[in-house]
Symmetry: C2
Subunit: 545 residues, 2 copies
């Protein structure tokens, strides 16, 4: 039996586009002798559709696509992820479902049983759990179908809950010869290894091969890395699709396959995730050009490299906006980087406007010493310039804040936080350096001086990040343990031998800057818990303040 | 039996403060001869605690408060809403629970059964449903305990779901003599009437009196209106606590009560909700002073009135920031309003800075006609000035966008959308006028000319909102039906006899400006669906674009 796992990149909500893609893939696969053809979770509407699901006419339109798909399935077995109405009038009114087509007709549905509702997932907001497991017979094989989370309970690797049911154990009694898993499993750092463990344990338990078709592409802030895969009945990996691009995994169940390895450079994967995140954010909205402020620091340098790779150098424009506090070396580094990347670079010095602003408010500020106010004004003038260029020329502004400084509130709201997308908003400073070194692995693209100098916002004389922040390696440990793992200050200090008062101070700063992040730009989620999606903290709270 | 429903205003996360308040209320009630004393849902941590719940040490601290409460309950029956760990290691690791104390000891828990997971509620993200209903005996009475949503299934008035269980029917077999309902039911326009219907049906069904203790106060964007109440076994309202402030409802079950009416002006309630939203947003964060841009338009006028009422006139400062497009009448109206409210008003003309900015970018903009770019620049200069004043003096900036213009994207990101709180961000333009007229009901506070002139952003010559938007009464119909009710364009046009193309265009504009709202300030939620909480729409989608 020849099985095609069509790892497609759907656009959320674009039923016409996604349907066309699904039909094309079915036709291609049939030409290549397919018996079974299947698609990712919610392939018809793209994952995650979010509150579009609340519009009843959206659901009706989706259900209306099934006839078109059915007409393409003469002689084959096809499974497509979509959303269907729950007509039982009890529970939530929708199912996260898979439509099963055999030989020209839709023969039934398999609804997702386990509905992740933690981190970035909120499926209990929309869906009713599927009731029972079943198998379909085709070519003398019993084919079981599960959707993403359904196989995760068994390995105990689900987040923040232990489900009451284990669909894998329920499906076992049907003794499937083959399990198809429709997934929309988003990337985070080193997630691929977790996924392989989960799927491997599932196949081994069922003593049946499992083929996983995962969505690829970025939708809003989530990146789906693809890496669809085939696992044999022993739980060994035998085939792996490409990561971060569309691909079709063709599995011949009659051919003996060798096992293969799941190796890749995690930093390279991270880079690819960020690149795809930028690419799809622009392409799916119909934008082509990006602009950003090039400061001479590592954050904007990294952002520039990723943007050029994702959008093409002809579509990326750098604006250098020096003030009285900008160093000559920063300007030189900016020029060198822009030249190496081959991007357009324009200089718009802001000092005159900055002085005009200070003069305008000098009456109000009389008798007050300069403080972060004046620093923020510079950042906001730059943000305003970039936004004006965005308005006039249709660029999307890329903001360049990293996760570490965003955690600390070491960023200016409406200033350097202005932008349509913060490319590295979920990347800690430590990882920023790793990515920069990875980009420079063959030749120096990011000037070495950018990598070597002490980080500075250059908003006052001789300012350095480390004047007011602890070393980034310590900060990033606290960031990871507190934000991603919810550890207490005491546990973090003990585990990493850090000063307890410093840890507490950092945690206080994280909570106190919640109000800034609430208004920050979207970022590309690449960790287990980003600030911009899947984390819901009150602004007004007094547990930590 | 004397029952005290202590309608308190807890601060999210502030266990020390909330515990102290609970203990004080218990002591007071005991002095007044209480037998039963109870508090709102999650009174100990405040509702909604959101992802603070993911910190295991937060839960431990909460559980650690029970002993202190127990020590206060000698001779009485006390119920306090809090969160407890689910020690069964199956399902979600927490319960939304009520701790029951009798005569000095914690005698058990009653966990919430129905977990709302729609609109602003995401309780399935955190909690495991409670298993069974039970009653406690005290003073020869069987007392049943339910938590908020638990009684909503019966009346069929829950949102977007029909639960599989009905706790009310489950508790019926225990034949309670009295039902206590711990609630944290947020305000929306005319919600009180809905609530009364729900509780009335519940009491009637059980043929037992029900006393509801609802949280009061604003936490972040949600306002809890209080209005705790007592309903007799026939389902008639017999007592109603105050709205929008702390209160204690004292119910004597042995006394015969007359029925009372639940009447109030819905516009007055809306005004009270906004006022309390502002008051608590400031007080609970430890801020006292607000500043805002006073334009001479109705939105900033209404915001000013609410802010003065919530914070005191000495704590509100208005900045008039005219440009070349500002009309003389707007300035005059601003002066008059500020004088009537008795607030400080300062003028900071922005035209010089605006011209400087235009000159700076004239090279970039060469050959391009003026467009919204130049309009946005003015709005952003104003935002920048207000933020600088905020930074220097510790004001919270109030932004003044209404829901109708925010829906259309007829607002400037980082410009008039800059601020810590958008007071009227969930109030449609139609309701803005109603509120303004309500404020003027006894005497003219908001100058009549502000109410009478055509709305204008005054960002270009002779600009009027209606140049690019349909009349607000039509816009607001579409806004309500599409955003709150999820109706299709066709249904809206048909139902309200509106032009279908206009309706479609408005819906497109709503989706296209999603990216702006994602970065907008928090607002005070006063409708069934605000843009800023309880609504999750993708930026990158192509269903409507």
């Amino acid at each position: 039996m020849r099985i095609f796992a069509c790892q497609i990149n759907p656009v959320v909500g674009d039923l016409t586009y996604n349907l066309k893609k699904i039909v094309e893939k079915i036709r291609e696969a049939k030409k290549k002798g397919a018996h079974v053809i299947f698609f990712p979770e919610l392939a018809l509407c793209g994952y995650p559709p979010e509150d579009l699901l609340f519009f009843p006419h959206f659901i009706q339109q989706m259900e209306g696509c099934l006839d078109t798909i059915a007409a393409e399935t003469k002689g084959v077995f096809v499974v497509v992820g979509f959303v269907r109405a729950n007509n039982k009038k009890i529970g939530k009114p929708l199912f996260n479902s898979a439509a099963v087509f055999i030989d020209g007709a839709c023969v039934g549905f398999k609804d997702k049983t386990l509905l992740p509702t933690y981190t970035v997932f909120d499926e209990s907001r929309y869906f009713e759990p599927g009731e029972k497991q079943k198998v379909w017979e085709f070519c003398q094989k019993k084919i079981g179908i599960v959707i993403c989370e359904d196989v995760w309970q068994y390995s105990g690797r689900v987040g923040y809950t232990r489900y009451h049911r284990d669909p894998l154990k329920e499906i076992e009694k049907h003794q499937p010869d083959l399990l198809l898993n429709l997934s929309a499993s988003p990337y985070y750092f080193q997630k691929k290894e977790v996924r392989l463990d989960v799927f491997s344990k599932a196949a081994k338990f069922l003593q049946a091969p499992m083929i996983v078709c995962n969505q690829v592409g970025a939708n809003d802030q989530l990146v789906f890395d693809g890496y669809s895969l085939s696992i044999n009945a022993k739980g060994e990996l035998v085939q792996l699709a490409k990561g971060f691009e569309e691909d079709t995994l063709v599995v011949d169940t009659d051919q003996k396959s060798l096992t293969c390895l799941c190796t890749s450079d995690p930093i390279q994967d991270l880079y690819q995730a960020l690149k795809l995140g930028v690419k799809d954010y622009f392409a799916k909205q119909g934008f082509t050009k990006a602009c950003f402020g090039l400061s001479g620091g590592i954050d904007s340098a990294l952002t520039a490299c990723i943007a050029v790779d994702a959008l093409g150098k002809e579509n990326v424009i750098a604006f250098c906006m020096p003030s009285r506090y900008s160093s000559l070396s920063s300007l030189e580094d900016s020029v060198q980087l822009a030249d190496r990347l081959g991007i357009e670079r324009k200089d718009i010095p802001i000092d005159g406007l900055f002085q005009h602003f200070l003069d305008l408010l000098s009456g109000q500020f009389l008798g007050r010493a300069p403080d972060t106010t004046e620093e923020n004004v510079q950042a906001r003038i730059r943000g305003m310039i970039l936004m004006a260029l965005s308005n006039k020329f249709g660029y999307i502004v890329l903001s360049t804040g990293n996760k570490s400084e965003i955690a600390m509130g070491y960023t200016t709201l409406y200033g350097d936080m202005a932008g349509g997308l913060d490319v590295i908003g979920d990347v800690s400073k430590t990882m920023v350096y790793k990515l920069a070194r990875w980009i420079n692995r063959k030749e120096e693209i990011i000037p070495r001086s950018i990598l070597e100098k002490a980080p500075s916002a250059e908003l006052s004389y001789n300012q350095k990040d480390q004047d007011t922040l602890p070393p980034y390696d310590q900060l990033d440990i606290v960031l990871g343990e507190y934000v991603e793992e919810h550890m207490s200050a005491e546990s973090i200090a003990k585990k990493h031998r850090l000063d307890l008062e410093m840890v507490k101070d950092l945690i206080r700063r994280i909570h106190r800057s919640e109000y800034k992040r609430r208004q920050g730009p979207p970022s590309i989620c690449v960790t287990k818990r980003a600030f911009t999606k899947g984390r819901v903290l009150p602004i007004v709270q007094r547990w930590v303040y």
